[in-house]
Symmetry: C2
Subunit: 231 residues, 2 copies
DNA sequence: CTGGATCCATGATGATACTG
DNA sequence: CAGTATCATCATGGATCCAG
């Protein structure tokens, strides 16, 4: 008789947690739902490489575990998946793992590796939270015409990111394409000086925009100079 | 061409971390090494259900990821596996996941579920850290004649556990078998009153032993009254 | 005895195509 | 849009065996 591969049968809280969210892809689904509710196809797009079969299975398992709930309204095609309160409580565990990943498992992107706005902003939150000294309550609004709308926020303690419009006054607003944003992260001055259609529009007070540019620059440098284990 | 199942190819720190420690069993290996170095067979005993093939594979992968290092000394039979500094930095992530597991994924032990001293002490650390108000620097020394030696310690911020002898003065020393300890956790007064060979020896000041008994009792109650999702 | 390696069976995942 | 169906491949578990 084969043991159930979905359990560990250990008397251990960590094993229990991993039975709920330790399967391949599970925590990445949680990651993408931490920034807000998503539809099945939204998740498919962000979880590059997952198959619909596996995504369906993970969503069902996460529902059973009380981590995810599906919002199905009659008369509406879309199903909106969102985290339950228990699921939202995974944020600190995800942050700790992400922080460790940045410090010890980072590597430069491989060719063909798709860069999603949300994931870039997640790395950025980690780096800005832990590797810059310039901290004060700050709110940025980023609108990617081809990849949704995000708010990045420093409450003075840590940076976080959600995929909704800001819930208060913003210091800087960024509008443009995802590609322009990637360019800007790669080299702020060039991207800003160029007059091409790939430009980003930055608005806000001069001081706030300067600080934004500076922090993005620090992030860029951190990524560039990171002692990746496998470059 | 099949994608490599061991990578996600996301530009994402969390995905990078999960490529290193997200495989089945990996974080449980880290869990068991967080309390100190272990031999292959020690790990086999604690990771109930893992096969030697899988454990070998996980250890090699964790070595490649820079999380684990093998200490092979010439002329010595044993191989001692231990965490690297990067591996030790996984403690906070493991703690966060374990805390979530206690709050949202706990269930009573199934019949046949092996209880290991270390794992019981890990749950206990979580519960004492987060569900009791009675906090002060405390150090307990537990010697299980059949399952090693452990130190549990509250630095005033949180409880932790290592599988070594204490590095300082202890408030309470516990000596006995694993079974006696399990009995004691189940019902302190009965186990203590009984004169059977299953007894635990508790030593320390009367106040310290009383407090120990009381905290274990709180843990026992927490486990008993826990609103398990699947009892 | 420790620290594995080998063989086979089964379950989990991926690729691709298709449907209500 | 939100999945199913089918087939192929890979990872894991169970059992057994082996070298130092």
């Amino acid at each position: 008789m084969a043991r159930n591969v979905r359990t560990y049968d250990h008397f251990c809280v960590l094993a229990r947690a991993l039975e709920a969210v330790g399967d391949r892809w599970s925590l990445l689904v949680v990651r993408d739902l931490l920034s807000g509710p998503k539809r099945f196809t939204d998740l498919m797009a962000r979880l590059g490489g997952i198959t619909p079969k596996t995504l369906t299975q993970r969503l069902r398992e996460l529902e059973d575990a009380g981590v995810v709930e599906a919002d199905r309204e009659p008369g509406r095609r879309e199903v909106r998946y969102q985290l339950t309160p228990a699921g939202r409580e995974l944020r600190s565990a995800v942050d700790e793992l992400a922080g460790w990943g940045w410090r010890h498992a980072w590597r430069s992107p491989r060719s063909g590796e798709v860069i999603h706005a949300e994931h870039l902003l997640l790395v950025m939150s980690q780096v800005l939270s832990h590797e810059t000294g310039d901290r004060r309550p700050t709110r940025w609004h980023l609108r990617f015409v081809d990849d949704g709308e995000y708010t990045m926020e420093d409450d003075g303690e840590q940076w976080s990111m959600v995929s909704t419009a800001p819930g208060g006054p913003v210091d800087v607003t960024v509008v443009g394409t995802m590609a322009a944003w990637a360019d800007f992260v790669r080299d702020p001055t060039t991207a800003r000086a160029s007059g091409s259609s790939a430009d980003l529009e930055l608005s806000g007070s001069e001081a706030a925009v300067d600080r934004f540019t500076q922090l993005v620059g620090q992030f860029r440098q951190a990524v560039a100079s990171h002692p990746s284990r496998r470059p």
